[in-house]
Symmetry: C2
Subunit: 494 residues, 2 copies
């Protein structure tokens, strides 16, 4: 792809300067305001050769934009702690809010290169497929994503380097020393070409910039941004309007059925429960220490019918754990701030650090349950959720995280019994709300949604565990035992 | 103070166990729910001797509480990056939301000890006075703060240590090795005594716990929590009710006057402006590189009348800076999430990393301006703001941050002229809202508030710079020159 870039591109200097300072600069500010007014979040990626004067191009851009509306990041500033988390975590955490811009001078591609060159740091590993999936999630999530690659010839690169050293002297920052392209132009040329080819997708195409003449580069970048944002705003506005008017037509084709086959008669006596509980909790604590020492973290996702016993099961797990090494994250409808971001953002920010447990009380699966049934999200969007969720869980497991998902299954009679018990017990009354009764009325719809959800997202790397939960004792032990089994397996494999 | 602790405290074992498991445990859960229902945030600090079995006490506590409602922290897990920020930053960032609990096993006292022992790491430095000020801000901000110190005898400490090693073997975590009290019981006894004495305040008293018998310790801790939370809920509810009904009676005694003395005729010719602007921006960029290399960060706070030219001044500053090394943080009324926390929280989370610039477009001074005038905050609360803000800015400057605060002063005629200009220019129309006109109607009230604000918060470590801003050119240059002067001074001192 780099061959196609016209490095001899020249425009009449005086004309170009005038265009930039007067017309295009103004258009840039206007495009930023259009994105802000539409509430469209923008992500820009500036990759390119070292010494391709990207900072200069960025600096020029900034002059025409409102600094309150953007933030410039570089992945070389990602903290040591963040590098221990799944690869995309820092980028998910830094998603721009509606109407804002995140500008990356070095992005997820930088780490990619870094890795390929050094070829040692497993922790910063990702693949072009993961990058493409990530970018698809962003554009599907209606983020405007603009990618630039500034190409320079070997000769020009050398020239720029000399100038930069002359201008800034030794005062300049050590960041430039992180990795080196010196004397490896051909090698990098090949690598960049591969990268550009593999990640030039329909939804996130590269803008290749002629970088030998910095004025031309600025001209091309400005033009592409103005054009890109204006087009995206139009599409974004159309989408928002369509969303407002959307009618949800369910067209589930394949029929899934898991729940009807669950044997809810499974039970266990109190004495045996007490003995096993103590045994399992002790074992879990031992495994926690071992997992901590090996930097293995665990994500436990709890879903199930209202009054299915999620709280009680979570409690038996956390009782066994060191309070310093776990967090429980309860989720309900997203709040004002959470609604500003991609629907997966509020889960990514709680990915556990190495060695930690994170328990999610209700999860990202709300996308394909409540959001589907209550028609909160258009069909086309929640349907995409199955793939998006599988992709996310895959990234987690590849980052040395054990991911288990529990569905606590009870039948309708048992739920009625528990609801009534709660209503009659002043100490438990707070646990039951009108919403619980409303959800119950949609039992059938939920059953369909759950069946499809489990069918489509039960992967070997992040399996669903269906817990027969009419008996609370049985359910709690099954949850504990499943965690123990998964950890023992993981620790043995490791 | 440690002398007063009864280390021989004994209760009848069987009675104690029953009390804990049945009555007190239940009361604990109930207290947690009461705090949740009242929306009261709770912070608990568990300090004590090493090997005082605090983890065991905490673990027992957890069994009776809803894990979705608390998070356990330890300051030894504070990241390297966070340790470079002002001392209290991580604790501000981790404030619990309404109805939630943050439990610290090792808190801001741990670092204090750590420092005193090692006596080397300047970066984790704080003082008892700062701790007291921080805790006062928390309790004044209606956080329920409970502090525990578990005291054990030297003999018991040794015994516990042996048991812990026996039980957990070598599998246990290296965290225990961070600092050592071994063979220094007397030295630590003295230090803990000093610490407890210096920080045992009326608003945040210590609960001293008899730790030689762990059952007794649990009993004392549970009792103190139940009692502490229940009392605090009562006070919190009363406060919330009073806040709802509050009438604001302004009783400003001392008369401040700064604004009337400002010479708004100051001006500069366009040619001279252009020349100076280029010169100052070049110099600022040089200083930025120097400050970056020395790890000195800069906080620039911008306040001023609507249409006073804040945006234009900020732009001339950011134009000069490397886009990777600054952030602009605009503030307006707090959003749903921001409202959940202490009013200073949303500013603490944007404290710049070493070497960075953070520009605040409107600031924490909203507390004593708009919140005062619009009666958003009761008198007693915003009045405390002056001290709270001074304390915060002091901590920042002590952490190697340059703090400058700009007030952009224009007169009422100039504002009217600018408002009209904006209304007549379709490209600037978005800058003007009804709120601007409403604020203008309260010019006199704002004048009083600003005068008092500057009078009370113009400190030598974080000075106010009054910018004569009827001339935009003059104003921008003064802002730039003030930053240059402050940085040059700081870099020379360093």
């Amino acid at each position: 792809m780099l061959k196609k870039v016209n490095l001899d591109a020249k425009l009449k200097k005086s004309e170009l300067k005038k265009l930039l300072d007067e017309k295009l600069g103004y258009e840039l500010g206007k495009a930023q305001r259009a994105a802000r007014d539409a509430g469209m979040p923008v992500i820009m990626v500036f990759e390119g050769w070292r010494n391709s004067r990207r900072s200069e191009i960025l600096g020029k851009m900034m002059q025409f934009m409102d600094a309150r509306g953007f933030h410039v990041y570089t992945s070389s500033r990602i903290t040591e702690e963040e590098r221990k988390l799944p690869f995309f975590t820092p980028f998910w955490k830094r998603l721009p809010a509606p109407g804002h811009m995140a500008i990356y001078r070095h992005s997820w591609y930088y780490l990619k290169n870094d890795m390929e060159v050094k070829n040692e740091e497993k922790s910063v590993n990702t693949t072009f497929d993961h990058i493409n999936a990530f970018e698809k999630q962003l554009t599907d999530g209606h983020y405007c994503l603009l990618k630039f690659f500034v190409h320079v010839s070997e000769k020009q690169q050398e020239k720029n380097k000399k100038n930069i050293i002359k201008e800034t002297g030794k005062a300049w920052k050590p960041i430039h020393e992180i990795y080196s392209e010196e004397d490896q132009y051909d090698k990098f040329y090949k690598r960049y070409n591969e990268m550009l080819k593999a990640t030039d997708t329909e939804y996130a195409p590269w803008n290749l910039i002629s970088g030998d003449d910095v004025d031309v580069a600025e001209y091309e970048v400005f033009n592409a941004i103005v054009d890109g944002i204006n087009k995206a705003v139009k599409a974004f506005t159309t989408y928002k309007e369509a969303q407002r008017l959307s009618t949800n037509v369910s067209d589930s084709k394949r029929k899934y059925d898991v729940l009807s086959k669950v044997d809810l008669s499974k039970n266990i006596a109190k004495d045996e429960y007490k003995a096993k509980l103590a045994e399992y909790q002790k074992r879990l604590r031992e495994l926690q220490v071992e997992a901590f020492n090996k930097g293995i973290s665990t994500i436990l996702a709890f879903e199930g019918w209202d009054a299915g016993g999620k709280g009680g099961a979570i409690k038996r797990v956390t009782e066994a754990l060191d309070p310093l090494d776990f967090s429980v994250h309860p989720y309900s409808a997203p709040n004002q701030v959470e609604r500003m971001f991609h629907y997966l953002w509020r889960f990514w920010i709680n990915v556990p650090e190495p060695g930690q447990f994170a328990l999610f009380d209700r999860t990202w699966y709300g996308r394909v349950m409540v959001e589907r049934i209550e028609k909160i999200t258009p069909d086309v969007d929640w349907r995409r959720g199955y793939d998006e969720i599988n992709e996310m869980e895959k990234e987690w497991t590849e980052a040395n995280i054990v991911v288990l998902k529990f569905w606590l299954q009870i039948d309708k009679d048992e739920q009625a019994r528990r609801f009534k018990e709660r209503e009659n017990n002043p100490e438990k009354l707070w646990k039951i709300t009108d919403e619980d009764w409303r959800n119950r009325a949609k039992w059938g719809e939920y059953e369909d949604a759950v069946n499809e959800m489990i069918g489509r997202t039960n992967t070997d790397y992040a399996p669903w565990i269906i817990v027969e939960a009419n008996s609370k004792y049985y359910a709690r032990l099954k949850v504990l035992k499943s965690i123990i089994d998964a950890l023992e397996k993981k620790l043995k494999d490791k």
